[in-house]
């Protein structure tokens, strides 16, 4: 057996001491390295990362309590307010200001003083629990003075409750400007997300434009929010108030609208469902864009009630639709003046006569006229609205040349206007039909289109603008913002062609035409115009008159005045008015208002007595009905809850 290898020498004291000094040196080295690392890290944090962490510390320390900016006004062309801010009372609450554990008690007390219902209290309670950092939560807005006073006197018991002066949007003209201006409301989730969770949008008392001009002009109207900068502890307690950042109100936007005219037109439409558009002929300024019936933007801006929404959306007269731009109608005979311009451009002599024996034979089909007009030249055909003449001439020229003229007069066009949406309709031609239906254009199509039926559908604003173009011979475009003095360049339509067409339109009103009722009772002002009646359904369902409301024909009237020096062009549409006779008196009165307000008002007051009160009175009655219904519904719900 081999000798085991020699065991290592015993560990000696000398070795031990050497090991200690070596190892303690190593330990010291490690300590030095770590110490250096600590200092390096400290330097990194406090020097190179200093900017970043300083911002973070500042973010911690300073909170901004947003003060919503005052919304800019909307005023009409004369500076008369259309949308303004009314100061009101509001009550907010800041949970961080309420003594610990008192939030629910305080909320309950305040809710009792403000008559809040349990649903609201529950909503506020959850909101209070989630909002941190000294941010206020709305308890109530538009608070009645008594409730406001009740809260104010009990403030010592209501720490954290903030009675404030707020602002609510007010539209003096009410529903007369409803579709035009839209309304404002509390931002919804999508709007909040769309603006990158801009905290302003969830600030109590802040509202954004929801429809109409309020929505489109939001960037101009909103303004810059101010803020009370406060230094807060981590628990949200106020340390001190820092220098506040002042808010900047939104800009006032001046509209082309004449709000008095707008209101008159809205009132004059009375119980009818329809639209009145008035254009300033030289400049294209839209003076009136009235659509009735309409919602009351005041009521909507306070928050739309379920009952009110239901009543409005179920109404067959569609109070939620802006009929001036979002509703399309076959314009009927209103387009006949435009047709005559196209015919002349195609070389037809205005004095050429067509014999009307009650219709026009196209192949085996007979296209009817309303009467046997006998021999008709171009002017007479406009005056009498003789279909036969237009059938004959459209058959000769084809509709493509007419469509070209229609487009020259902006028909079927989408305007560059600050509107939420526009329905711009159709001016058909052969190419369009091929594209849309993959069918050839037929002579029958031309005939139908020539009397503003068939595929032709347009909105009332287009009818008004086209009338203004005929009246001025200029390429005017509608404008809604600002007051203008400039005039558009002339259209390439010979003056003599325009003269014939205008003459025909003059005869419509002032000779043996179809709109004698449109004459205005103002000395020296002559109106020129054209009636139109468009079928809702085929004639097989009746004559469009003695049928239920929704099957009645639409009545249209386009006109301008004064004939010799055109200043105003107008389109009036009365949905299911039966005939154009429903539209002409409205046009007459609105036109009268433009020249003699007093006379026009007298006329209106007489009508409103028959309709059951003025627009404001009827609106108030509607709101009462809404309230009654809402209360009845609430009572019914409560009763069913109890039985359940």
């Amino acid at each position: 057996m081999a000798k085991p290898p020699k065991k290592p020498a015993r560990f000696t004291e000398a070795q031990r001491d050497e090991a200690f000094s070596r190892r303690s040196l190593l330990v010291g080295g490690i300590q030095t390295v770590l110490g250096g690392a600590l200092i390096a890290r400290l330097g990194y944090l406090s020097i190179s990362q200093n900017q970043y962490y300083q911002t973070m510390a500042e973010d911690n320390r300073v909170q901004m309590i947003i003060v919503p900016p005052r919304r800019g006004w909307l005023v009409d062309r004369n500076g008369k307010p259309i949308a303004i801010n009314r100061s009101d009372f509001r009550v907010d609450m800041i949970a961080d200001q309420v003594p610990e554990g008192q939030v629910e008690v305080t909320l309950k007390k305040a809710a009792a003083l403000l008559d809040l219902d349990p649903d609201q209290v529950e909503r506020i309670s959850t909101e209070l629990a989630t909002k941190s950092g000294y941010q206020p939560v709305q308890l109530a807005e538009n608070v009645a003075y008594e409730n406001y006073a009740a809260v104010t006197v009990r403030l010592p018991d209501l720490e954290g409750v903030l009675p404030q002066r707020g602002f609510s949007r007010y539209y003096p003209a009410g529903s007369a400007v409803g579709h035009l201006v839209g309304y404002v409301g509390i931002a919804n989730r999508e709007e909040y997300v769309a603006e990158d969770k801009n905290p302003l949008l969830v600030t109590p008392g802040f509202k954004i434009g929801k429809e109409g001009l309020e929505e489109v002009l939001e960037p101009q109207l909103r303004g810059q929010p101010g803020g009370q900068r406060v230094e807060l502890t981590a628990r949200g307690k106020l340390v001190r108030e820092l220098e506040p950042k002042p808010d900047r109100s939104g800009n006032t936007v001046r509209l082309a609208i004449d709000v008095d005219l707008q209101e008159y037109a809205a009132r004059r439409l009375g119980l009818e469902s329809g639209a009145v558009v008035v254009i300033d002929v030289p400049t294209g300024d839209i003076l009136c864009l009235a659509s009735m019936p309409a919602y009351d933007p005041n009521s909507f801006s306070d928050g739309i009630g379920r009952t009110e929404w239901k009543l409005l959306s179920e109404n067959e007269r569609r109070p939620l639709v802006n009929k001036t731009v979002n509703s399309l109608y076959p314009p009927g005979s209103c387009l006949k003046p435009m047709n005559t311009l196209a015919f002349q451009a195609a070389g037809i002599d205005p004095d050429e006569r067509v014999h009307c024996n009650g219709g026009y034979q196209l192949g085996r089909r007979f296209f009817r006229c309303l009467k046997r007009h006998g021999s008709m030249n171009m002017r007479d055909a406009i005056m009498k609205s003789c279909n036969t003449y237009f059938y004959a001439m459209a058959h000769r020229t084809g509709y493509d040349v007419v469509a070209e003229m229609a487009r020259k007069l902006t028909l079927g066009m989408k305007y560059d206007l600050p509107l939420v949406s526009q329905s711009y309709g159709t001016i058909p031609d052969s190419e369009w039909k091929l594209r849309k239906y993959d069918q050839r254009w037929t002579a029958a199509d031309s005939l139908n289109a020539s009397i503003g039926q068939g595929y032709v559908i347009l909105n009332p604003l287009q009818l008004a603008v086209h009338t203004a173009r005929i009246a001025s011979g200029r390429a005017i475009l509608p404008r809604l913002i600002g007051v203008h003095a400039d005039s558009a360049p002339p259209l390439d339509i010979p003056e003599e062609h325009l003269a014939v067409t205008r003459q025909g339109m003059w005869q419509v009103v002032n000779a043996a035409g179809t709109a004698g009722t449109a004459r205005v009772p103002v000395e020296g002002v002559e109106v020129a115009g054209k009636t139109g009646t468009s079928q809702v359904r085929g004639l097989q369902y009746g004559d469009g008159k003695n049928v239920p409301w929704k099957y009645k024909d639409h009545g249209h009237f386009v006109c301008y005045a004064p004939f010799d020096q055109p200043r105003y062009a107008m389109a009036v549409t009365v949905e299911h008015g039966g005939t154009s006779g429903a539209a002409t008196p409205i046009a007459r009165d609105v036109m009268t208002f433009l020249f003699d307000r007093e006379k026009a008002m007298e006329q209106l007051v007489a009508y409103e007595e028959q309709w059951g009160g003025s627009l404001a009175e009827r609106e108030a009655a509607f709101q009462r009905r809404v309230l009654e219904l809402a209360q009845a519904n609430a009572a019914a719900r409560a009763a069913s809850d109890e039985t359940a």
Partner: protein, 375 residues
């Protein structure tokens, strides 16, 4: 010479160390005054009283002869071990962990005392062990047991930070005692391998702290809050700090525990990089001094004990600073002499008193040797 005017016992005090300790302590007390919003209540006054009383006590301890310390060490070890057992049964449940015995007049945290005692105990053990046995098993297993018992009991409480500190102090003494290298290399490797398993045994809040340390911004308002706010406090201080009593992070309570574990962050916020570096250098001075005591020690016991105690102080400072600067998980270790809390000051002062005692011993022996040489 100065020493001719000043009485000898006073002149022989290690003034360098005392000045450093005073500097650190005053920094801490001044900070507590600021952290309380410019008030001596509730922290600065108490801490000041405790600090100066215990500093005097430490100087007093330094007069205890080494032989007494040696004799008392096993007694102290057993006593503290029993107290650790006691907290398991009568311990006060606070801070989510059982750490105190309520004596009525004060809350006693026995694990604190274990920190110096474990070092002394191991130093004593290796002194008694014959030098020749140092590479044998019998040099390892008793030491492992001596460390394992208190560490285990502290872990149960659970107090991970203190357990780690105890283990560290013990292992450092083992290392310096000259145990074979492979033991430590192997131990390190085994620890690294066992870490994932160990983590799964930790309390959920401890696990979260470790994960959050790796990525504090993942949950800045939740578990990473402390660390994020600590880094903001340090980083926003800049070179010169925001000025005394002007730290927004600590004064507005964004920084939690600004008077205890995160005192350093709050100090750097107000005093800046300059203040932070000054504090770190002061600690470095204390540790250098301690290591020098160890190197000069005349006896094996003093040598190992001084090094172990110094390393324990170093461990505290280092882990705390790493923690508040986001280099280590938040483990709840206070900054010695700065953080508020009587227990922690008592432990550190006890260690410093012992270090001075070893220093005095070495110097006395040196003087005796010189005197012998001269005479």
């Amino acid at each position: 010479m100065l020493s001719s005017i000043i009485p000898q016992p006073l002149a022989r005090l290690p003034w360098k160390l005392i000045v450093l300790v005073l500097l650190i302590g005053s920094f801490g007390i001044a900070h507590l005054y600021s952290a309380a919003g410019g008030s001596v209540q509730p922290w600065a006054l108490r801490q000041g009283l405790i600090f100066f009383t215990l500093l005097l006590a430490a100087i007093g301890i330094s007069y205890v002869p080494e032989s007494w310390v040696k004799g008392l060490t096993p007694v102290a070890y057993v006593t503290v071990l029993l107290m650790l057992l006691a907290v398991e049964f009568v311990g006060f449940v606070g801070m989510g962990a059982q750490r105190w015995i309520d004596l009525g007049f004060m809350k006693l945290q026995p694990s604190e005392f274990m920190k110096p005692v474990i070092v002394l105990m191991l130093a004593r053990f290796y002194e008694l062990l014959p030098t020749g046995d140092i590479r044998r098993w019998r040099a390892i297993w008793p030491a492992a047991l001596l460390i394992g018992l208190p560490v285990g009991l502290t872990l149960i409480q659970p107090d991970l930070g203190t357990a780690l500190a105890l283990a560290f102090g013990g292992v450092v003494v083992m290392f310096l005692a000259g145990l074979p290298w492979w033991l430590f290399a192997g131990g390190l490797a085994a620890t690294a391998a066992a870490l994932p398993i160990a983590i799964s045994f930790l309390h959920e809040y401890q696990q979260r702290r470790i994960l959050i340390f790796l990525e504090p911004e993942a949950d800045p308002l939740g578990a990473g809050y402390n660390l994020t706010q600590s880094k903001i406090a340090i980083g926003s201080g800049g070179l010169w700090g925001k000025g005394y009593m002007n730290g927004s992070q600590s004064h507005l309570q964004y920084l939690p525990e600004g008077h205890t574990d995160f005192a350093f962050s709050a100090i750097v916020e107000e005093w800046g990089l300059v203040g932070g570096v000054a504090l770190i250098l002061a600690f470095a001075g204390v540790i250098l001094w301690g290591m020098r005591v160890a190197r000069r020690a005349q006896t094996r016991f003093a040598q190992l004990a001084a090094a172990g105690l110094t390393m324990t102080i170093f461990f505290y400072v280092c882990i705390n600073l790493m923690m508040v600067m986001g280099l280590a998980p938040v483990v709840g270790i206070p900054l010695p002499l700065v953080s508020f809390g009587g227990s922690a000051v008592m432990t550190v002062m006890l260690m410093i008193g012992l270090l001075i005692a070893f220093d005095r011993q070495a110097k006395t022996a040196e003087r005796a040797r010189r005197a012998g040489l001269r005479g």
